[in-house]
């Protein structure tokens, strides 16, 4: 495993919804090394304030040397990212952490809630590099409103996935929780991969445990280094020991995580 401190160049930035952006960066070293579920630390801004890099999942990595980030503006760092324009540079550190472990055969179900959808697109792309039917890659997307997932649902469909959606306001797909969509598929699944709010992932981990379906979950934690050096990103593990999201994760088998903390 090798990580790089790479000065990437912005190729494009698209606004997909109100506060949702997709950023395409030329970062050949990171693009070549990246695996689905891994993340980068981005130095948003060029001053000492904000000081720390921000972690973002790798949304897509292409052999052409580009990577994509999908991000939601929630504070100062992400706001600075949204102001980037083509040609400008962004210092990245990555690829970092452990990505998704995949079974030899499907079907697979990818479940993303909100901005947690970000790493799943890269995962689906890699999974579908081998010719597989849509049923082998079920994608369930949840968000507050249709606006946040309309474009992404289309992208997953075009990739060749079977897509289901759920929204809190009922403006697209199922009116309710995305985890409500999982049970009908469970009996056939070889594995579930999920990223999103902790409550959503805990619910999904529970459903998977009850039916003995392996479940991989991508977690978040506040980070300073992303390298396993600061020990700031600890979360409680099921074995009673702390785990470091940047090094042991961000993707954990659901059984490794203490969900009720």
């Amino acid at each position: 495993m090798s990580e790089y401190q790479e000065n990437s160049v912005v190729e494009s930035i698209e606004r997909l919804a109100d506060a949702l952006y997709r950023l395409t960066l030329h970062a050949p070293c990171i693009a070549a090394a990246a695996k689905p579920g891994q993340f980068i630390m981005a130095a948003c801004g060029h001053s000492l304030d904000p000081l720390l890099r921000r972690p973002f999942s790798i949304h897509q990595a292409a052999t052409s040397g580009t990577i994509q980030l999908l991000f939601k503006v929630i504070g100062r760092g992400t706001n600075l990212l949204s102001e980037l324009r083509p040609g400008q540079s962004l210092s990245l550190l990555g690829p970092l952490g452990h990505g998704f472990q995949l079974p030899p055969s499907g079907p697979l179900c990818l479940i993303g809630g909100g901005i947690g959808i970000a790493p799943l697109f890269f995962l689906a792309t890699k999974w579908l590099q081998q010719p597989r039917p849509p049923e082998s890659c079920v994608v369930l997307l949840g968000s507050r409103t249709a606006e946040e997932i309309r474009q992404l649902a289309t992208d997953f469909s075009e990739l060749g996935c079977l897509v289901g959606t759920a929204t809190d306001d009922g403006s697209l797909g199922h009116h309710g929780l995305v985890s409500d969509l999982l049970p009908p598929f469970l009996s056939d699944l070889k594995q579930v991969c999920t990223c999103g709010p902790t409550a959503m992932m805990a619910a999904i981990a529970g459903l998977c445990r009850d039916t003995a379906v392996p479940c991989e979950t991508s977690l978040e934690s506040h980070m300073a280094c992303g390298l396993g050096a600061c020990l700031g990103c600890a979360i409680p593990g099921a074995d009673g020991h702390y785990k470091h999201v940047c090094k042991h994760g961000p993707v954990f088998n659901a059984e490794e995580v203490a969900w009720s903390r």
Binding site: S2, E3, Y4, Q5, A43, L48, D49, P50, L51, L52, R53, L93, S221, H222, M223, A224, C225, L227, G228, A229, C230, L231, G232, C233, A234, I235, P236, H241, Y242
Partner: protein
Amino acid sequence: MEPLIPPTDLDLQVAIGPLRLANPVMTASGTFGYGAEFANLVDLNRLGAMVVKGISLEPRPGNPPPRIVETSCGMLNAIGLENVGVKRFINQKMPFLRTCLSRVIVNILGDSIEEYAFLAHELSGVAGIDALEINISCPNVKKGGVAFGTVPEMAAAVTQAVKRETDLPVIVKLSPNVTDIVAMAQAVEQSGADAVSLINTLIGMAIDARTRRPRLANIIGGLSGPAIKPIALRMVWQVASTVSIPVIGIGGIGTAEDAIEFLLAGATAVQIGTANFYNPGATEQILTGIEHYLRQQGETSIRAIIGSLRLGV
């Protein structure tokens, strides 16, 4: 641009008591892991020294999350001294560290004088360890939890106990959370410390107004990063002006210019902490920047600038 003086003609060597360093750029404890974490990003043969994460006798789990929070030009941490314990450190971390040319300094911590002494004893025979740094910013459990680093007599007692157990050079790392840091430095100097390093983090706090909760699970934590540099610089200058043992400057150093300011104030070497997080290449960049500065100033030896602060008119 051709350097005025070729790099090989620059003498960057400094001495921390009996310990010779190839250059004055070190990493600060807790910000560089056990070295290996940065192996792909930094040339671990090029640094003056690497100070590893603080080691205690038994492994420590650390504090519940959240453990870190960003603040203006800085960060607060309440890691809770999570570490693998001295046995696993020696068996699992030292083999890699021995392969690096940079010097290795082991930061130790304990909750009693006996624990510090025992750690010094355990680490003394281990090949590849060049010095010990004593973190005295820890509560003395037997003395009602008062930090060793805030009472001169307690700091002196720890220093003496460690010195008795080891022939390795001993650096005492001072806490800034005291009324008179010079008194602390003098106390450990008199007790045989080979050098002092300063500063450790300043105790601080952050609150989320929306949720009305502290941002750290531990409520309070240690402030580090550029925000603390002026305080660190002042303390280094005061201590370096008073004691005769070498002073290692720490606190908010992120650029070569920052490092040089500490050297001018009297530090013999510097440690880079939080900067490793936001700029993993910081240590090597600072080293290169110091070389550049020496050439610009027409100096051939780093020792010519140490303590060369100009005062008066």
